[in-house]
């Protein structure tokens, strides 16, 4: 779809705001609707939109598959790491109270990182699935 001028212009306009909105959903999830899962999906949708308009090869340059693989694992590591950190600081697994001297602040900190982990993994997995499906050559029609 590289030839469509309107699509290219609109995509360039929309994608930054989509990514910005994803960050808003991510960091405002404590107060309004949203959170890591939705933010991750929106980030992935932004990159997929880019891939649809500017071609898969360009998207692969923007977000290399290697990075996607790292993201997929990194999110779970962040999430589990918060839990392990809770143990190291003297609490139970996934205890956020111990992450800061003030228990409520510790909760906020724990939730922030946990949501970050969810966001990273979700964005990575969505992109991985998209790359896997979109990157396959089309089979000739069996009929």
């Amino acid at each position: 779809m590289k030839g469509y001028l309107v699509l290219r212009v609109i995509a360039k306009l929309v994608i930054p705001f989509a990514l910005l909105f994803a960050l808003y959903v991510q960091f405002h999830g404590d107060f309004g609707p949203g959170g890591g899962f939705q933010a991750g999906v929106i980030i992935a949708a932004g990159v997929i939109f880019y891939a649809l308009i500017f071609g898969l090869a360009n998207a692969r340059k923007l977000v290399p598959p290697r990075l996607v693989e790292i993201l997929v694992a990194l999110g779970v590591v962040i999430y589990g790491g918060v839990g392990v950190l809770g143990i190291l600081l003297g609490g139970n697994y996934l205890d956020y109270f111990v992450l800061s001297s003030d228990p409520v602040h510790g909760q906020e900190r724990g939730v922030f990182w946990v949501e970050a982990g969810v966001c990273v993994t979700v964005a990575g997995v969505m992109l991985a699935i998209f790359y896997a499906f979109a990157g396959r050559p089309r089979r000739p029609d069996p009929e």
Partner: protein, 175 residues
């Protein structure tokens, strides 16, 4: 009510359509209607997820899959009577099961008696997070969310292992 009727209409249209491209678009419409229904039910977080995942990502993935396959549904070689009977019986049992549930929004229902009051009353004080959904999801039910994240992770790893995501310099090309 209008929304539910529209949902039913779209579902019937999906069943009746043979062109898979139309089915994908219709299921996207179905997701948006479902998201609107969830907004009406004040479940904004779920609505957002439904709109972004159900209507957004799934549609793109289904279209991507459709590009790899044919866009017309194959005509099944058997009568649809047995599957229809199974579906009707299952639906009947599910509807019969809902008859025993408390009325929607009933404050004396078991779901509102167990841990929900504590989440609502002490949630902000204990976690400092005004959005109860986030507080429950990430803090009170942190284990569950960890499990969900792991499920997504597993799905991603499965897709990467089975299909590959086009990394250059892959060592083993033997599948």
């Amino acid at each position: 009510m209008v929304l539910l009727l529209l949902l039913a209409a779209v579902a019937l249209a999906i069943v009746g359509t043979r062109n898979l491209f139309a089915v994908v678009v219709l299921s996207s419409i179905y997701s948006f209607l479902m998201a609107t229904t969830l907004v009406v039910l004040d479940a904004v977080d779920v609505a957002m997820t439904e709109a972004s995942v159900g209507a957004g990502i799934s549609t793109v993935l289904l279209l991507g899959t459709l590009y790899l396959t044919r866009s017309e549904e194959a005509v099944p070689g058997h009568r649809p009577l047995l599957p229809l009977a199974v579906a009707v019986v299952t639906a009947g049992m599910l509807i019969y099961g809902t008859l025993g549930m408390p009325v929607f929004g009933d404050p004396t229902g078991p779901i509102h008696q167990h841990v929900a009051p504590r989440y609502i009353q002490d949630g902000v004080r204990e976690t400092g997070i005004p959005n109860i959904v986030t507080a429950v999801l990430a803090s009170y039910r942190g284990y569950d969310t960890l499990g969900e994240t792991t499920v997504i992770f597993t799905a991603g790893v499965g897709v990467i292992l089975l299909l590959g995501i086009g990394r250059r310099g892959r060592k083993g090309e033997d599948e």
